[in-house]
Symmetry: C2
Subunit: 224 residues, 2 copies
């Protein structure tokens, strides 16, 4: 046995022992972490960053505050993880709905169809986490604002890409400004969610998605 | 002198004394109250209801907390007065801009022109108070939500009335749904404000108002 083989074998054995002994611990810890994030995402989304304490998350999970702090060093760290989790749920649903359709206008319609039903069945509890967090974090929490920008970037890019595909394919007129239209659609969807939640009336959001659908129709090439 | 005259005279004298002695007191109290409301409107609009304390308002005004409580019995009462003040500034500006134009599409354009510049020069500090308060109050504060609904009602009614005038005058097509278009315009303006503030980029809101202007064009009667 050379020194090299020894070290290699030892490394393998140590690694295996670590894995064998560590796996259930890591898994349980990871499961607990995920449970904290899920509960925290609901609470932050309903009550906001300023309106939520680590004690609230502790109460909701049934874990001691110390246990929550074992996984997240601060309320800030917990809020960032909770936002990322909630925003990922929204973006995954948006992406899945859009990408289930052929590229172009059909994907834009899929987005509007999805949001036509969001008033009745919100994608996450407490309304759109991007809307909620953007409003609260714009003046007060730079790190949370950065995450919110990243999530909004992802959403705007999906819609802009679908509009650009529609322009390239000749479905929409060549002079259409894909970025500006995407901002208008996404902005109006957020505004429609705001109205639906403010009045407790899902029809308000559906009315907005129907008008946006007519707006997209108005951008179609005349030949269609 | 009859008893009646005596009482009348006495009442007048007492009343005059009260007025003479009371007027400066009342005026100073009212001025202080207005100053509290103005400062509180800024602070609540930037930091939110959950993120603002009476101590913050006391600090900003240089008044003792007890003095703030002399005018407002609770943080709730102060928040409601502060919201009403901020929302009235926004609605007064919207109404003034719209009503400076002839009835119909010109008033809708005036709304979009006003908001095209709001990214650079917000109507109140901290962004739109209706947007900010709607997002925070929807789940957590029924009284504040009621006020926010009332303000949103006022805004939607102004825009719906202008669209109805435009339909009656034959500027917009007869099948146009004024209420749904108003919700789409107002929702998209709020969404555009959200984007402009999130990215610190006023051009995002202007891009939205330009697209909304094209949307209104698409609703015009063909003869125009």
């Amino acid at each position: 046995m050379t020194a090299l083989t020894f070290f290699n074998d030892a490394a393998i054995v140590v690694g295996m022992k670590r894995r064998v002994a560590g796996t259930p611990m890591v898994r349980k810890g990871e499961r607990t972490r995920q449970r904290i994030v899920r509960e925290a995402a609901d609470i932050f989304n309903v009550h906001g960053f300023a309106g939520t304490s680590v004690a609230d998350v502790s109460l909701a999970t049934g874990l001691e505050k110390g246990s929550v702090y074992n996984h997240f060093e601060s309320k800030d760290a917990l809020a960032l993880a909770a936002f990322d989790y909630a925003a990922a749920i929204v973006l995954d649903r948006v992406r899945a709905a859009m990408h289930a359709q052929p590229r172009g206008v059909a994907q834009v319609r899929a987005l509007l169809d999805l949001y036509g039903g969001v008033g009745e069945a919100p994608l996450v509890r407490g309304g759109c986490p991007i809307l909620n967090t953007a409003v609260e974090a714009d003046d007060t929490h730079p790190a949370l604002r950065e995450r919110t920008r990243a999530a909004m970037d992802g959403w705007l890019e999906l819609v802009t890409a679908a509009l650009e595909d529609a322009i390239s394919a000749g479905e929409l007129r060549g002079e259409t400004n894909a970025g500006a239209v995407a901002a208008t659609l996404v902005g109006a969807l957020e505004g429609g969610i705001l109205l639906a939640r403010l009045y407790g009336d899902a029809a308000r959001l559906r009315a907005v998605t129907e008008q946006l659908s007519m707006f997209i129709d108005s951008l179609r090439t005349r030949s269609r």
